[in-house]
Symmetry: C2
Subunit: 344 residues, 2 copies
């Protein structure tokens, strides 16, 4: 890109959220005298007798985790959502104080019996089992009449609120479509109505021509630092074929997803030579019984580290009250990620 966009403060449009992001590339020289994070370290043992996700151990509710050998799914013992909620609405006046009950299901998704592994260190074949688990969860939960959205995600690392290093993610399935997919739905529908093509299909085509923000790819999937990235090393995972949900993925696409997840997470670990913390999750089309030709299944990776294993980006004052702001350009983040992906 032209020098101007590498040097001058500017804003970039996020067409998926229809919002702007502030980019301050000249600010990378800023010294950091603030909070230093504790660098993440890999779990050193394959089995932890105090871990409730390790096979054979006791959970908070007194149940025992079985001797599972691949993946394992169970109901979250401290679920943020429940199924047996009476339906009720509240309006304390003027439409300004409104509440309604929300039904849902929260499950914990164990990726592997081994306590010390992560997506970055698991074999691709094992990640393929994780993809299959996500697919069957999305299928089963999405088919329920009371569920309109199936949000699969992973919080990795203590810095991202994960309370256990055992490789696992979560699924929260909800009665209503949450805010983020709702914004993406409106944006993708608007674009599709205008162009008769999914927004993310057109976007991926441009990124494949540009190449500047592509960090990894295989026959079926591409990982890019999106043009509108907020987090320093944020990435977006896109399928090459337009597919709107997990159930639409064929065997080759599932293999490809496992492969690119391995490349991406292993690459992240090499950026600062530390287990890279992140929150990641998939955005499939809503399971609201409607067709979704506008929607492309995709995954977002939101990693907080900015300059080293101990210096993160804080999303605070201006970010919370104004707009998200970033200090390095998406193009320079992509160049860094590309170099570590190729170094493998």
């Amino acid at each position: 890109m032209e020098a101007l966009w590498v040097q001058a403060p500017h804003r970039r449009w996020n067409p998926l959220r229809r919002e702007w992001v502030l980019v301050s590339p000249h600010r990378t020289q800023r010294p950091w005298q603030g909070q230093m994070e504790t660098p993440a370290v890999p779990a050193p043992i394959t089995y932890d007798p105090t871990c409730y996700l390790c096979p054979g151990n006791m959970r908070a509710n007194g149940e025992r985790t079985p001797q599972y050998e691949s993946t394992y799914v169970f109901q979250n013992d401290f679920a943020a959502l429940k199924q047996d909620v009476p339906q009720a609405q509240l309006d304390l006046g003027y439409g300004l104080l409104r509440a309604e009950t929300e039904r849902g299901i929260c499950r914990v998704l164990c990726f592997d019996p081994r306590h010390d592994l992560t997506l970055a260190t698991m074999e691709v074949g094992k990640i393929r089992s994780v993809v299959d688990m996500w697919t069957s969860q999305a299928e089963e939960l999405g088919a329920r009449p009371e569920i309109q959205y199936v949000q699969i995600f992973e919080n990795r690392g203590a810095m991202m609120g994960a309370s256990n290093p055992h490789p696992h993610g979560q699924v929260w399935a909800t009665e209503h479509i949450p805010n983020e997919p709702l914004m993406e739905l409106a944006a993708q529908q608007e674009y599709y109505a205008k162009s008769q093509e999914p927004l993310l299909t057109a976007y991926l085509r441009t990124e494949l021509i540009e190449q500047e923000r592509v960090v990894a790819s295989n026959e079926t999937w591409v990982a890019v630092v999106p043009f509108w990235a907020v987090w320093p090393f944020e990435t977006l995972l896109l399928p090459r074929c337009p597919v709107s949900s997990f159930t639409g993925l064929n065997a080759e696409e599932r293999d490809g997803l496992a492969d690119i997840l391995h490349t991406l997470t292993a690459g992240y670990n090499r950026v600062f030579d530390t287990p890279f913390p992140y929150s990641m999750g998939f955005h499939p089309a809503p399971s609201d019984g409607q067709p979704h030709p506008e929607w492309t299944l995709h995954a977002h990776f939101y990693p907080p580290l900015l300059r080293s294993a101990t210096v993160r980006k804080f999303m605070v004052g201006f970010e919370l009250l104004g707009s998200p702001q970033r200090d390095i350009t998406p193009e320079s983040a992509a160049a860094t990620l590309r170099s570590v992906m190729q170094a493998e």
Copy 2:
């Protein structure tokens, strides 16, 4: 409120952002085995020779901070925004990769020469000087033709990305209205067109009748835990008289603002007997040359602590990919805050 809303998962409507927030009140029993924060400690010295905000010390750019006695304002040495930016736009195709340059001004606002003070420990008369500084900054920056929004904020505590404990805030004035005030503008305009009354006037009236979420008040200002609070002890500061900007505040209202800021921040410190970290900031009407009868000046406080000085709320996986989620009800947070405010 009825028992249902104290026990059952539900969602609440945020009329200022026109979005839902998930509330999971039954989840407070959840044990916490994740990251423990380093508790904040007050700065122990009134003058720190290495602090660039203390009077007489050298800044990064070689300038010397004067021997100021009340407040002091200077241009941020590592500003995220600059004034001398050529105007340019970029569109890499399909309207999906768009950027434009952004002009602006970033300043650091020192609240007091003493290194060890905070809004919570400063005398009300000194906070009144801070209110006057905010007012003159809002006035001066808002009058510039290239500035459409003046975002005043404070990041307090290392946990919220503050790199220096010296009492200070910032102002980022921007060419375009940032995302958050833009959302609030649309919501307030819609409500005003429908009701011929500002949204926050109607909201405050309801809260003053309900009282359940009011945590502090004086003749001119009221602090509530908003019905739609996201952060555990989030509060919203509202003026009793409809006023849309700092310059609209009379002397009594400025005194009242100083007073309630003292009550609120000192109260926060008593919740977990620790200097309470937060990001806070004001949302005045845009300075876009338009009249804003729909707008009410207000301040948001976003503090991250959830259960103790060391256990915070993480806004991660589901929050980043789905919707914000909270574990204690706004009403129980308000009851806690009220009890510590009255304990003074």
